[in-house]
Amino acid sequence: MSDEINLEVFQHLVELAALELTAEEAEYLRAQLNQQLQAIHQLSAIPLEGDVAPAAHGVHYDAANSQALRQDEWLPFEDTAAIMGQVPEVDGGYVVVPDIPHTTLE
């Protein structure tokens, strides 16, 4: 069985996904991805005529089951301290993160 997700593709995905992996994890994950793709390939055998539209939901939404759009009004949350209390590092109400790498766009 050829690996659709080869090492190079895998490393690119890992970079995009912002994941640091151990060598053992990487080996397991890449093998599982390729096995899952074998199952996914069953989809390519399904005849899909022109009138098959993609479904965003199984249940159809129309006027009969959709909520009316609400006014675009903001509601203050009653306990913002409980939200800010979750932030790993804060300074005077600001969220602190490590240096943000800068890239010069060409």
């Binding site: 995905l13 890992v14 996914i40 069953q42 399904i46 993609p54 249940v59 909520q67 490590p98």
Partner: protein
Amino acid sequence: MELCDLSAYEMSRMVRQREVSATEILHSCLERIARVDGRPGSLTPGEITEEDRQRVHAFLNVTGERALQQAQAIDQKIATGEDPGPLAGVPVAVKDLFCVKDTLTTAASRILSNFRAPYTATPVARMEAAGAVTIGKVNLDEFAYGSSNESSAYQPAPRNPWDTSRVPGGSSGGGAAAVAAGEAPLSIGTDTSGSIRQPAAFCGVVGLKPTYGRVSRYGLIAFASSIDSPGPIARDVTDTALMLQTIAGVDPADATSAAVPVDDYLAALEQGVKGMRIGLSPDYFRITFFDPETGEADQQPLPAEIEIAVRRAAEVLRGMGAEIIEDIPMPNTVYGIPAYFVVSRVEAASNLHRYDGVKYGVRTSEPVHDLRQMYRKSRGQGFGRQPKLRILMGMYVSAAQYSEQYYNRALKVRTLIRRDFDAVFDRTGQYRLDALLTPTTPTTAFPMGAVYGNSVLMQYADQLTVAANHAGVPAVSVPGGLDEQSLPIGIQFIGSDYSEAKILRIGRSYELGTQDEPWRGIKPSAVRV
């Protein structure tokens, strides 16, 4: 019978009629937890001992103090003549995927191990407003990604109360195990590919996946947002209906919650099945396993005991006046898992990008030189293997160069699966079914360790439940007997959009039609010790 073994319906009735207090019921459930549950899941579990192997381990966190305050408030209301609501004093175990204010809400992941929810999810808030007592948070597969509970970052993982060497199913396995073991009469779970129904089947309890949008997702940690359906787990159909009654209904905080009136589920329950048309489909009596060696799909018949249980259920319902229609074609059922591999991974990857160590959750404690390294380390250390796998697959199949081949194709297959259901439930069509009757799972509960690690085989545990998720239609699993090893078999009723009242009514009729069968009297082994 101890108080904790009563139905939720009976508990609420007794509390409101002052036959027992909410506090007494809570203590009975807490005693059962102390007797059968063993130590709660932990990020640093050490060695799994022989004693661990005998316990259920459903709970991550028993919120006893909070529950006691709620129970005392219910008793206070009763004392002053106020009606606390239809779930008065009923303990509820909450899957740790729902935010409950001021409690740890972890999704069974290390990355959320320090997250204390600042608000309560709508369905939980509705149950509490109806008098329920939140007894604690129960374990699950990490971020609900699994069918066995073994992927939880918190170990020991839940075990099946019928045989603690076996899995309870998943991802709502902690909830199903807790309900089966009498630790709580109700649990709220979520179902994305079978995560309520499959563990309910494995643990011999009732599990309902409502129509997508019937129950609000506000306050639920998202897995696949276009599919996730919160719903009840209970020991009987009446309790399932009672719980659904309190959690169903439109919610301004979830734009996908349906603006459709909520039926009176309890009123419909006892109306029987006379004249109902219930279908059996050959497409649910065979299983398709993908063979990783050959790359071929291999079709096999279901284990005989499971097919026999379903056919016996059909005979019971026929005897009660239902019309059984055979050979219902559901040809796209077989594509449910391949399509799910794509759709659910794309949505999961999108939802998992928010965990970055910036706003909440765990940030790496290692020194880092910039923000990107902080992301990589926090996510690398915080996520287990299943979330990582889903992020990578989701990104791959939705990448610009592959999305037509994979993601868009899977969404079209979802349309085909939906058409199968539309055709058989069409009131003017050839079949005009009220419900399909199918097995819930291709096997009964499998041994711990037997499947875990093989992400393809694990996903195929959901192949008889996932089609209803793609289609969005409601489906309920009810206990349908025991196999030769005394493990529960689940049977499933699938209905059309918003027909929960109807499938619950059929389930209740099946309960009545089998109430004198010997298997009904057998309790899970974890409760017998």
